[in-house]
Symmetry: D2
Subunit: 309 residues, 4 copies
């Protein structure tokens, strides 16, 4: 095992001068107000070592990273029938594109684009009220991270609800094809709330540890999913986790990962560790610019790429 703390420190000091690069998401005020110079990183190994740098313990809006957790929940409830409602192919277009839905009759291409995550929210609802489903998601993430302090930022959720025209369009479009089981407002209520989860890098890295350890959190001993399912979620993160920059992330970093427009990225090194980075400035694909670079450097220095030494 390489000296991870040294590596993390080096990456942090190398990238520190570049903090602020990229474009902070501004589609809701709560995201736009964040300090663009924030930069944090946390690694939790399967052996329980924790290595951090920078703003690793400041909570941020995890946004689309939450889609990994809701997909895990939906697969737990519906198993492989989940794939009747959402595909598992890279999208070939922007994260919030509606074009694809028209060609495939309201079935989103994968669970990590907005439309797909809305379909997953519908599956998580499973006959419950939005309040119940949101409660279940929060409890699940706390259980994954073994941290009862994790919570949703209600201001962010409210803001998303007030300005989420594109998501209302996507959900109504799917409903027009009969692809939602619950009312559009309920489904989006769930969606906007899970996107508003606030977590620190340290919490996020803990919450993804089960994906690095064959489905079982080695620190708590909780078996979250069977090993095959953990591999499959990792596969989806690798092929679809960074919108239309997924191929580039696989090429440069070589690890399954999921980004959010809040500037966070959760990455998984199977058998090794779970990693979370946060830096609000985004690149042109909507993924954290500094965060992507940090993970590229980490993969280079550790040899953790899933694609070979």
């Amino acid at each position: 095992m390489p000296d991870l703390q040294k590596i993390v420190d080096e990456i942090y000091s190398k990238l520190k001068p570049r903090r602020g690069e990229g474009k902070v998401a501004d589609y809701i005020p709560q995201l736009a107000h964040v300090d663009p110079k924030k930069f944090g990183m946390a690694i939790v190994t399967v052996d329980g070592e924790v290595h951090k740098a920078g703003d690793a313990d400041i909570p941020f809006s995890i946004q689309s990273i939450s889609k990994v957790f809701t997909l895990t929940l939906a697969l737990g409830k519906h198993g492989e029938t989940t794939w009747n409602r959402v595909g598992r192919e890279p999208s070939g277009s922007a994260f919030n594109s509606i074009v694809q839905l028209e060609h495939e009759e309201g079935k989103p291409r994968n669970p990590f684009i907005n439309a797909g995550a809305i379909a997953v929210s519908d599956l998580v609802l499973a006959g419950h009220t939005p309040r119940e489903a949101i409660g279940e998601i929060v409890r699940f993430v706390r259980y994954l991270a073994d941290d009862e302090t994790i919570a949703i930022d209600p201001e962010v959720a409210k803001s998303e609800q007030a300005t989420g025209y594109r998501n209302f369009a996507l959900a109504n479009f799917m409903a027009s094809f009969g692809k939602l089981d619950h009312p559009v407002e309920h489904v989006l209520g769930v969606y906007f709330h899970h996107c508003a989860l606030a977590m620190t890098c340290t919490q996020l890295a803990h919450s993804g540890l089960f994906l690095a350890a064959a489905g079982k959190n080695p620190l708590t001993g909780h078996r979250v999913v069977p090993s095959q399912r953990a591999r499959r979620i990792n596969a989806l993160m690798l092929t679809c986790g960074h919108y239309d920059g997924s191929g580039d992330f696989a090429y440069r970093v070589g690890l399954p990962g999921k980004s959010g427009v809040g500037g966070g990225i959760l990455a998984v090194a199977p058998g090794k560790a779970s990693v979370a980075v946060w830096s609000p400035g985004l690149n042109h694909n909507g993924n954290s610019l500094i965060g992507s670079l940090a993970l590229e450097m980490l993969a280079d220095r550790t040899g953790w790429s899933v694609f070979g030494q």
Copy 2:
């Protein structure tokens, strides 16, 4: 290391009764005439063990699998500037779609869809004649597989030339955006010929071994590419290697791979082995139906998925 020969034998006997399933490609007579019941498999480990079953030593038309080799050549000639001409994102559409080219001004999304491989053929030409470029490709594949008997099937090449309207459309379309350096006929001459390479599973598995072994063929000692490039080619195979079924292949098999409409698939288990399968019947995404199943079973039994145990 698991008992690979036993695993290969089990897979073969399990799938033997299903030979003939799927649809044999019929767009050129030479492919349509192949016996749909053929089924072969070969594994070459990084330690030099070879395990085979079925028709592993009968040559077949490798078709698009050759795109891995021409990409490797183009990267050798042009390095990262290769990506000025072709992207590295999954396509989100069929292997021979032309729609995407219009939206991105003649730049194909990745080197493994037809348009992208045509762009790569243009890069391989690099000022040479088609005959020279084709010769270079054949020599390169022989060098990779350490087998001087590998050759192009001239009948297949001729047939593709005579019926390849879609590829003529793609190449002319790129030319209309000024994206080809050589005449359309030259570029397609190279393209049609490398797609017509005939190889056995055993040869093919050998030729991909450098990708499983950090860029160096451990059997010949030839350093083909630096380790970083090997990882990156693997990443491209995983995200883009199976057309619009790439996400599904990653989900079910979890190995970098590249398929051809001749029914072959080359898969790479980094650090472990190079695997080739062949069975002509294709699934709805144009990938070998039995071949995909064989690789899924292999990944299950060996635990070779790049996404964890």
Copy 3:
């Protein structure tokens, strides 16, 4: 002037046996319950002659035909700046397609596809409440037809509101590009209500008379629009009035016209007459099958095509 009553009678008896052909729109129960054998026709000439056949005095849901009236109102309020919000090109896709909006940043291609008519509803609102705008539209149509009995069918309006997911998607999508001035619910409230106008063929033919008579209703003496604007609205009806069947309608009938999924069509013979037909069964483009045939026969027999004798 040909013997119009004789022509109308002949058309009616020729097509009577074919009543019931086509597919009645069923996306809301109120439309699906209509008797598929209904068939009516009314001609009002610029000299005030009225010729009718069949169910010419039974009210039906005019649906998209109302878009001609709201466009006329919007042009009255906003003049040529109307075209900042909506284009005037044929759509090249289905009436409720959302794809085009993504390519043109939320600006619909013309005022007669759903997205365009929603944009026009937004313009008609012009700061008023939905109730006020709906009242204004009803009064305007009564004024055009000189008939105070014309009204909205509240059941149809309610039904459209309850099932109009696709229109909610379109409106939210435009809102996401900042292309609506009023809340989505208000805009759609206006839209769903004007589509629910119930009119007879006779009323409808009267309401379109101003378009046949250079902008002035010759029976009431009301100057509705300047003559240039009447010509321009006719031009839009001809190029865009029948969704993706507009070219076919121009080819076969040769008159400006606007269809609705309720099975009605309003057609204009400039300088001659205004014509309304109604028959609920639709062809594959969503236009009245028998109604289109009736208009084709009328144009043949009268020589009223705008494209020559």
Copy 4:
């Protein structure tokens, strides 16, 4: 009848100062070399009056205007079965777009976009050699205009052949769907040559006179097509004659017309006259900027709009 010579003179002097506006097509050198200040106009009435202004007797490359003549020929040879190979709906996209072909399996939307005109060239060939078909087209246009001096500019034809990658792409794409009866090279040979016809405004106006006079050239007495077909060709010109600016042209001018990238436009006032304008600078839709304005002024002053006084 208005004083046409006075109107033509007024239009000419009003627009003379604006000559040179717009962008001259430069995709082949022969078009780029034309003097951007050229501007001519010719009207031929159904009574045989001829009114001209400016450069009305200087030949220019009629380019896509020739598609009206080849369509007329194809309809003569194949009648309504012509529409099995090409649609008659406005395209909703640029003149040389290939996207639509993929969605409709190689059937172009209308005969006036490039793909559609290529399909029409295939129909005109009808088993003959390209040389024979080209000869037939030239003889037909001479017959229409009653002018034996009309000829193809061989330099333009050669240039188009050498640089027409987009058209090669379109033709090969259609061939890949089995939609061409003749070899791609033959079809494009015909296409490139008819686009290279050189005509003056006066010749062009004469050649379109049959469309203004119910299918019969009133000056020669030649019955070219039945009156219904003349109306239908006019309908196609109105809905599809100006690429993605057809709606705008109908809105502003209100006459059937067909433009070419050489800067010419042929317009038809049914029952009145045939009009040709020429000015090389194009607007953003690829139609003559000054030519469109001249026709708009002509329609205003004469009241010739087909959409009413």
